[in-house]
C-alpha cells in the first residue's frame, strides 16, 4: 500500500497511470477526478504523516500497490446482500457507504448475516461531510470505473491479490468494558428507549442522565473476544431516547467503557509503535479525531481517512480499522466459495 496526500491534479495524473486506488476527500475534489480504477468517499478529515488535518482541497489516496486486479459495483439497500458476489478467489473487498442513509442502516443491521461475509476480508468506512455542513450536504461515494456518484448506495471494490499474498483485517479499540452494570436492549436499532440495567427494566436516556454518563464513552460488547463499540450520538431526554452511531443488538450485553483519563494519551498508546503502520490500509473514527483532538497530532504512524463509521466485516464505532498484506496462501476452500457466490 502507498498512502499519499494529493492535489486533485496530482490525483488525476496518478489515476491516468492505471493504478488501483481508494480516495477520500471533499465532494468537489472527488468530482474533479477522471475515470479509472478507483473508488472514493467524502470525508475531508485525514490522518496524515504530518498529523490530523481537515482539508477540503486535497485528497487522501491509498494506492493498492499489492493488488493485481479490481472490479467495482454499486449496491443499494435492496441489492446489498450481493456484496460478496464478484469477489476474487484471493483478495479482499473495500466498501464505502454514505452515512445516514438506508444503505448504511441496512448494512449495519443485516450485513453481519450475509452468507459468506466473513470468508474474506471486507474493509471500509462510512462517508461523511464537514461537520459544519451536516444537514446541508449529504455524504457521497464515487465509482471511478463508471464515473457514477451515489448518495444512497454503497460502492464496493473487489480487489484481487497475487498468489502468495493474503489480506489480514483487524481493528484497534482503545476501549474496554467498564465495571458498571450490564445493559441490554429488547430490539436492534440505531436508537433505544427501553433497556434493562442489570436485568431491571429502565429507560436508557433516563439512566444515562441520572448517572451522569460521559457520552464520549461508548457502550462495549464482547464479541467472542473482540470488544465492539456502539457510540452515543445524542440523548433526547424529552423523548426518552438515545441515538447511536451503530445499532445496539437485542441479545447482546453491553457495558459502558471504562473511563479514560486522557483520551489523546490513550489513543497514542493504543495506536502507537506498530511496525509498518504507514503502509497499511487504515481508517479512523471521527469521534477519535474529535475526542482525542488529533488535528495536528501524529499517532502511531497510521494514516488514512477519518470516517463516520468503520467497517471490518461489520459496522464499528470509535475504532481504527487496518488491513495489511502478508505473505501466505489463501484458504483453498474459502477461495472456492468466494468464486462460487
Amino acid at each position: 500500500m502507498k498512502n499519499l496526500c494529493l492535489s486533485p491534479a496530482e490525483a488525476a495524473s496518478l489515476i491516468r497511470t492505471g493504478v488501483i486506488a481508494v480516495f477520500a476527500g471533499s465532494e468537489d475534489a472527488l468530482r474533479s477526478l477522471p475515470a479509472g480504477t478507483w473508488i472514493g468517499g467524502t470525508s475531508p478529515y485525514f490522518m496524515t504523516e504530518a498529523g490530523g488535518v481537515v482539508d477540503t482541497a486535497r485528497l487522501f489516496c491509498t494506492v493498492l500497490t499489492g493488488a493485481v486486479e479490481a472490479r467495482t459495483v454499486a449496491l443499494t439497500a435492496a441489492t446489498l446482500p450481493q456484496i460478496v458476489a464478484g469477489r476474487f478467489a484471493n483478495g479482499f473487498s473495500y466498501v464505502l457507504i454514505p452515512a445516514f442513509t438506508e444503505v448504511h442502516r441496512t448494512y449495519a443491521l443485516d450485513g453481519p448475516g450475509y452468507p459468506g461475509l466473513c470468508n474474506q476480508p471486507v474493509m471500509g468506512w462510512v462517508t461523511g461531510v464537514l461537520l459544519s455542513e451536516l444537514g446541508s450536504r449529504t455524504p457521497k461515494v464515487f465509482d471511478g470505473m463508471t464515473g457514477a456518484m451515489h448518495d444512497n448506495a454503497a460502492v464496493v471494490m473487489h480487489v484481487r491479490l497475487p498468489a502468495g499474498t493474503v489480506a489480514q483485517l483487524d481493528f484497534i479499540n482503545l476501549f474496554a468494558p467498564g465495571t458498571g452494570p450490564k445493559i441490554a436492549f429488547p430490539a436492534d436499532g440505531f436508537s433505544a428507549a427501553a433497556c434493562t440495567v442489570d436485568g431491571v427494566p429502565a429507560n436508557f436516556a433516563q439512566y444515562v442522565t441520572d448517572n451522569a454518563i460521559d457520552t464520549k464513552l461508548p457502550l462495549v460488547a464482547d464479541y467472542a473476544g473482540a470488544s465492539v463499540n456502539v457510540s452515543i450520538q445524542a440523548v433526547d431526554q424529552a423523548a426518552g431516547t438515545v441515538a447511536f452511531y451503530a445499532p445496539v443488538l437485542a441479545g447482546e450485553t453491553y457495558r459502558f467503557a471504562r473511563a479514560i483519563e486522557d483520551y489523546a494519551d490513550a489513543y497514542a498508546a493504543g495506536a502507537g509503535d506498530t511496525d509498518n503502520a504507514g503502509a497499511m490500509l487504515a481508517c479512523n473514527c471521527i469521534l477519535n479525531f474529535l475526542y482525542a483532538e488529533l488535528e495536528g497530532k501524529t499517532t502511531g504512524g497510521f494514516v488514512g481517512p477519518v470516517t463516520f463509521g468503520e467497517i471490518a466485516y461489520v459496522l464499528l464505532n470509535q475504532t481504527l480499522v487496518r488491513l495489511q498484506l502478508l505473505a501466505g496462501d489463501a484458504t483453498p476452500l474459502a477461495a472456492e466459495l468466494a468464486e462460487a457466490v
Binding site: 448475516g113 483485517l169 464479541y223 467472542a224 473482540a226 441479545g251 484458504t331 474459502a334
Partner: protein, 70 residues
Amino acid sequence: MAAPGKQDLCWQRLLTTESPPEFKALATKLMVARLRREVKQKPSALPTATEELSAFFSANAFAQQELTFL
C-alpha cells in the same frame, strides 16, 4: 485440523456454553458472536446456527487452525 461434521455436538456446545473460547481471527469472533446471540434470542434457531457455524469452519482454513477448543 479438519472441521468436524455439522452433526458434531461441538458446534452446539460452542454456541451455548457460558464461557466460549476466545478466537484470534476477527472473522471467527464475529461469526461466533452473531450466532451465539441468535441462539440466545431464539433457541429454536440452534440447528440452523450450528449448520452455519460448521459450514464456516469447513470453508476456512484460518478458522480451522483455531479448532483447538474441541
